[in-house]
């Protein structure tokens, strides 16, 4: 399974755009890239998923370059409530059911 590498922590201020980059050098052809968000004392929650190029939903955007060896989660105009841990995962392709979580990125948003 592809291993992911992301920054341990990031700090931002309300209203700013936050970009969290994840490296996954050995991503497989059939793997998708998925991001989850986790608040304290809660289970992770799905944010966004993509295979290539750009995906956007009401919460975030996901940018994936052509070589797919990295991806960037973009959170527009963050607020205090976006303070959470963000996990990047790769996998799920080819009928596989197992996804591997890394250590995640702790995002702290301040006033």
């Amino acid at each position: 399974l592809a291993k992911t590498t992301q920054p341990i922590s990031m700090d931002s201020y309300e209203g700013q755009e936050v970009n969290i980059t994840c490296s996954h050098n050995n991503i497989a052809t059939n793997d998708y890239i998925t991001w989850y968000q986790q608040f304290p004392s809660q289970g992770p929650r799905f944010i966004i998923q993509g295979y290539k190029t750009k995906v956007t939903n009401e919460v975030a955007s996901l940018f994936i370059p052509a070589d797919r060896k990295s991806s960037t989660l973009s959170l527009p105009r963050v607020s205090l409530s976006d303070t959470a841990v963000y996990y990047c995962l790769v996998g799920g392709g080819g009928g596989g059911n197992k996804l591997t979580f890394g250590t995640g990125t702790q995002l702290k948003v301040e006033l």
Binding site: D31, G43, Q49, Y87, G92, F101
Partner: protein, 115 residues
């Protein structure tokens, strides 16, 4: 909305006790998972099940077993609890199929303390 429930939010057990953690999902999902989460280590997969009575080891199965007798219920068993099993335990479920639908739905977690 998918609902995944876990039997307890907080649990305190003693070393050597047998511990059962229960997870129930209401979306008829085939796949269910048990993770543990520890500071600095993220989420680590213990076991998963892709059908009733089917199970596969995850990354850290030692000291744990699982049971899936009904589709909606996936149990994690600690045969003889040890202090190094003190952790947050998270259950998840998802439906199989195309990767574009590979979203895992998580329960609220059970914080287990083994004394």
């Amino acid at each position: 909305d998918v609902k995944v429930t876990q039997s307890s939010r907080y649990l305190v057990k003693r070393t050597g006790e047998k511990v059962f953690l229960e997870c129930v999902q209401d979306m008829d999902h085939e796949n269910m998972f048990w993770y543990r989460q520890d500071p600095g280590l993220g989420l680590r997969l213990i076991y998963f099940s892709y059908d009733v009575k089917m199970k596969e080891k995850g990354d850290i199965p030692e000291g744990y077993s699982v049971s899936r007798e009904k589709k909606e219920r996936f149990s994690l068993i600690l045969e003889s609890a040890s202090t190094n099993q003190t952790s947050m335990y998270l259950c998840a479920s998802k439906s199989p199929g195309l990767a574009s639908t590979d979203t895992q739905y998580f329960g609220p977690g059970t914080r287990l303390t083994v004394l």
